[in-house]
Structures are given as C-alpha cells and as structure tokens.
Amino acid sequence: MLTDAQKLAPTPGTHIQMTYLEALMQAQMEEMDRDERVVLMGEDISVYGGDKLIERFGRNRIWDTPISEGSFTGMGIGAAINGLRPIVDLEFASFAYLASDQIINQASKLRYMTGGQIDIPIVFRCCMFSTGSMAAQHADRPYPLFMNVPGLKIISPTSAADIKGLMKSAIRDGDPVLVFEEKRLWPLKGDVPTDPDHVIPIGKADVKREGKDVTLIAIAGAIRPTMEAVDALAKEGISVEVIDPRTLKPLDHEAFKTSVAKTGRLVIVENGHRVCNVGSEIVAVMAEEAFDLLKRPILRLSAPDIHVPFSPSLEKDFYPTKDHIVAAVRRLL
C-alpha cells in the first residue's frame, strides 16, 4: 500500500494520471486479463463500456442482460458459486433495491447457511447518481441499508488510485462485495499506480489530509465539498484532518480513534439520508469505544430524511455543502 508521501510525490514512470472512471474501467480490464473467470454482466454494458470490451474479451465474457435485475443478479450469484467471478453492474444504485432479494437472501447468506460448503466471489457495482436532477427514483444512496446485512463487504472509494486498488481487491475477494461508486467523482483525476497488482486492502481507511484541530470523516461523494471546506478553513489557520473510510463494511474503527485522539473533535459528512446512515454507526462506535477522547459532541452532516427532489433549486442545498461543513467545523472550535 502507498504511504501518503508516495501519493503526493509519485515516482515518474510508476504512476499515470487518469480519471476515477478510467481507473475503475482499468481495474476491471486488468482483472479480466489476469483471470479468465471474471465476466461482466448488466444492461447495455457492451455499449457503455465501449466496443473495446467486446473486442478485447469477446461476447463470452461481456453479457448484455435483459431488464431483469432481480434475476440476472441471481444468475451472477449462481455463476459465482459454480466457478466464475462475475461483476454484476446494476448501474444505478437505486436499482439495487430490485436486486436486493438476491443480494441479501442469497449472496450474503448462502456461504453461512451451507456451513461453508460454497463460496460466492461476486462484485456488485452500484453507482450513485446523487446530483443532476435525477429525481428520487434514480438518486438514492442505499449503502446504509446494505450495511445492516451481515455477510457483505462494502466499499466506496473516492480517488482514482483508491477505486482502482479497491476494485481489484473486490474482484479478487472470495466473498460478495458491493461497490458504491459515485458519479460525481467520475471526472476527478489523480495519480494511479501502473502496477497491475496495485491492490488496496478492504477495511483500511486513508488519511486524505493531515490536521490537528478537527477530524472530518467524509464518505464517498461528500469528499468534494469536504476538501473545498478544508482548503477554506486552512486559509484561516484551522487545521482539519480528513479521513476517507474507503470501506464502509467493515469500518476501520482504529483509524477514526487514532485521529480523534489527536484532535478531540469529529464531524462526519455524507450524502446518505440521515437516519441510520454511516454517520450513525460511527457516532455509536465512538460513544462506546472512544468517548473519553472527545472534547466536544460529534456533528453529523447528511442529506435530510426527505426524498431527492428534481428541481435544481431544491436540490442545490440538499446534500452537505462547503458552507455547511465550514460552519460545522467552526461550531466545534
């Protein structure tokens, strides 16, 4: 794994600049090259993925499915049990609800229910289209719902290097992994290691910015306004440490505690709805395991307990913004 210093000063030749989306695609392609059991399935994916995918891997590895989320998800699970390593692309995270019976009742449970007789190495891609007037049926961020299900691993990385390394880990993992990627992060560029074995372990958080006054845990797309807020606060001399959990299940409790031991103050920012979200879980963990470290109450910023509206004027302030984050940090000082 790369240290922060390595990330900030990449050695020439070992990294190249690419977007988050390119890194994600590259992870899939490299893993498909490496392991012929990896197949890709979902609606219209051969077209969205570019003809390159078919040219490179052929129709036997890239499957455009009918609009049958509940069942092609289950097909992927059956195929995983029987020797393949499918990546099931559900496209919109909101469609994971249709697939949820198979993900929850089958994929997450069958290894346990059979006493370990079978393995289910499968990846479900669920992209969060939080903004852009998609309206409520296309804009959900259902990761908290799946966090409440035992037997699933859940990742939601925010940088190009992280999505590549974690996606590779997910594909190589022997268990079901849900990937909550974020559409808003697709165009963001970053240095990505060219090493085809660049993998980041599932379950390890990353310190995206060191700081000493306040700890800020940012989830998925919330990293963007968070970084803007942190830059603005730095100009005022307020030093914020930013942690990206990268993996939502399991959460890296130690990383949170180490940071809060330093700062004594914690803000959690995410785009999920407020009730029972990642922030709720982190607050509970800190209350149980690290209450003594806290100098002030924890603050949570999230989307309200309201559906995502269509109109830009309503959507504009729906998720935590830079200003909300700056104000929250100030309140703790």
């Binding site: 097909m75 195929a79 059979t114 007789q117 149980e288």
Partner: protein, 338 residues
C-alpha cells in the same frame, strides 16, 4: 431413454430413502429432537428421483424449502443430513441451514432456497457458468407450482432460452402452495404451456411415475448437453402431508380427507413402482434386500445425528466469509456484544 438395469433398483432405493428418512424425521420431530419446521416430500419421491437419476454425478442442482428429497435423490449420504435437521455440529451445513436448506455440495447441490422462487436464478446462473466455461455440465432446478408465480421464474426462463443455457426447470407440481390451489392462483393452470412464451419445450409428466419423469428429464438433459437450451418439465405430483409437519391450519380445509386418502391409496409413487418392478421380474427378495438396506441406513443416520454434539456457541461466526477480514468474524475474535 429408459432406466437401465442397475438404475431400476437404484430408483427404488432412493425413493425409499427419502420416504424412510422423512418418516423417521417426523418421529424425531415428535420426540423434540428436530427444531423448526419440517417440510416433507412424501408423495413426491418419484418426481425428485426420476429427475435426479437423469443427471451425472458432476451435474448441479438447486432445490427448495422442501429440501430433504433433493440431496437424497442425488445420492447424498444420510448421516450428515439427519444431523443437520437436528441442528448438530456434524450436520451437512454445520447447523446453519436446517431442514429447509439441506444443501449437500458433494452431490452438486449449490443451494436450497427457502425464499420461494429464489433458487431459479441461481440455477440459471449455474448453467450460465457451464456455458461460459465451455463444459457440458447440466443444472437441474427444482421449484414448486407456487414458485411459478414469482417474477424470477419469468425472468430466468427468458434468459435461459435467450442464451440456450443447459438448465432443466423441474416443477414439482403438487397442486398447492401451502393452502392455495393452482386454480386459485394461476391464470393459466397448465404450467407447461408457459414454456411456449419463452421459446422452450414444455412437457407435462405423471410425477408419480418415476420412469416417466426419468424419460422426460433424460430427454431434457440430452437437449441441454447438445447446446439446444432449457426445458420446462412439469411433474404432476401430490404431497401426502401438511405443508409443514406440525402446521395447524384452522378454518376451512383446503383439501378433503378423501382426496388425500385416495392419493395415498392409489397414487403412492413407491407402491406403484414396486408393482412395476415385480411385474418386470424383479423378485420380492431383491426388493426386500433394498428395503432392509435403507432401513439400516436411516437407523445409522439417526444414531450418527443423536451422537453428534451441538455446535459450540463460540463457533457462531464461523463460515461467514471465505476471506475474513483481519480480526473480524472469526471465533477467535469472540462476539461483539455489549
């Protein structure tokens, strides 16, 4: 394609193994040794065994909540099955699955789904894997008439037909979903007709005739292996007992005592097949030897199961993951409990 010499007695043996396993299971259930519900397949043995015998050892299967017959039909050892229904450590699923989920992977069962219709996509995907990997393995998918009304049935049959997957959909049509009859729940009660809508053959067979089921299944297996795609087989059968043993259904009875008695008397697949075997010249002695052998195997299974310890509570998290995360979900880490 007909059952050949050895298979003829084997069919009898396996049907009898299901029957005796469940009869004994019910005794143990009454004796308080089996927790949870117990869904018996008694009456449906020919539909199960006929289909299973058409498979090779390396072929795959999925089953349902009525799960005892499927592994036995495919040739599973009885000991670990009996231990599982008792929730024991020696159970086939280490006490994590129980009576509704007797999946024995050693005989090719990838799962038994107690979510009605839940196993249909899994079987389809299992066949999809064979297709992608270029092997000639076939998958047999069991489900009941009730499951036909799930969306997964429609979606899966469509995809299997579209991609000519080597899968056999076998409906154990016992006429009822708990208390709801076919007529009460199917706009088209002739289930085999649905196959036409997906562009695959739909075959109805007498599910009490093990030879008829075998022939239909063997034909479907041949098609599947030849790359000609899936087949829907509807085996008309009957469940002798209540939906679940011990289930008390109050209010209007949904089927008459006469109906049940008539089936037990005239349509018992094991009695019918025994008569056929005798007519075909297999003597009482050979049948008696099979009967003794089955009785012995069931006795042994109960002995094994009773002697097997209960799983230790500290093993609760075992089998959650193939690749556990550092320090999590292993018995060593203990339980997070406050």
């Amino acid at each position: 394609m007909q059952l050949n010499g050895d298979q003829r007695l084997e069919a009898y043996r396996r049907m009898l193994r299901i029957r005796r396993f469940e009869e004994e299971g019910m005794r143990q259930f009454k004796g308080g040794k089996i927790p949870g519900p117990f869904h018996a397949s008694m009456g449906q043995e020919a539909a199960i065994v006929g289909a299973c015998l058409a498979l090779r050892d390396d072929d795959a299967m999925t089953g349902t909540h009525r799960s005892h017959g499927h592994p036995i039909g495919k040739g599973a050892h009885l000991d670990a099955l009996m231990a599982e229904v008792m929730g024991k450590e020696g159970g086939i699923c280490k006490g994590r699955g129980g009576s509704m989920h007797l999946a024995d992977n050693s005989v090719g069962i990838i799962s038994e789904s107690a979510i009605v219709g839940g196993g249909i996509p899994l079987a389809t995907g299992c066949a999809f894997s064979a297709r992608v990997r270029g092997v000639d393995q076939v998958t047999l998918c069991f489900f009941g008439d009730g499951a036909v009304n799930q969306g997964t049935f429609h979606e899966s049959l469509n995809m299997a037909s579209l991609w000519k997957l080597p899968v056999i959909y076998l409906c154990e049509n016992n006429g009822y979903a708990i208390t709801t009859s076919l007529a009460q729940s199917h706009g088209q009660p002739d289930i085999a007709l649905r196959a036409a809508g997906y562009g695959m053959p739909g075959v109805t067979v007498d599910g009490q005739d093990v030879c008829a089921v075998y022939e239909a299944a063997a034909q479907a297996v041949r098609r599947a292996r030849a790359g000609e795609g899936p087949t829907l087989i509807v085996a008309n059968t009957y469940r002798f007992d209540e939906h679940s043993f011990g289930l008390v259904i109050s209010g209007e009875p949904y089927r008459s005592v006469e109906e049940v008695e008539a089936h037990k008397r005239d349509r018992d697949p094991i009695l019918l097949y025994r008569t056929v075997l005798l007519e075909e010249g297999i003597n009482e002695e050979s049948l008696g030897a099979v009967e003794d052998e089955v009785a012995e195997a069931v006795k042994q299974a109960v002995k094994f199961a009773l002697a097997s310890p209960m799983p230790r509570p500290e093993t609760l998290p075992d089998y959650m993951f193939n690749s556990p995360l550092a320090g999590q979900y292993s018995s060593a880490a203990g339980l997070e409990r406050n």
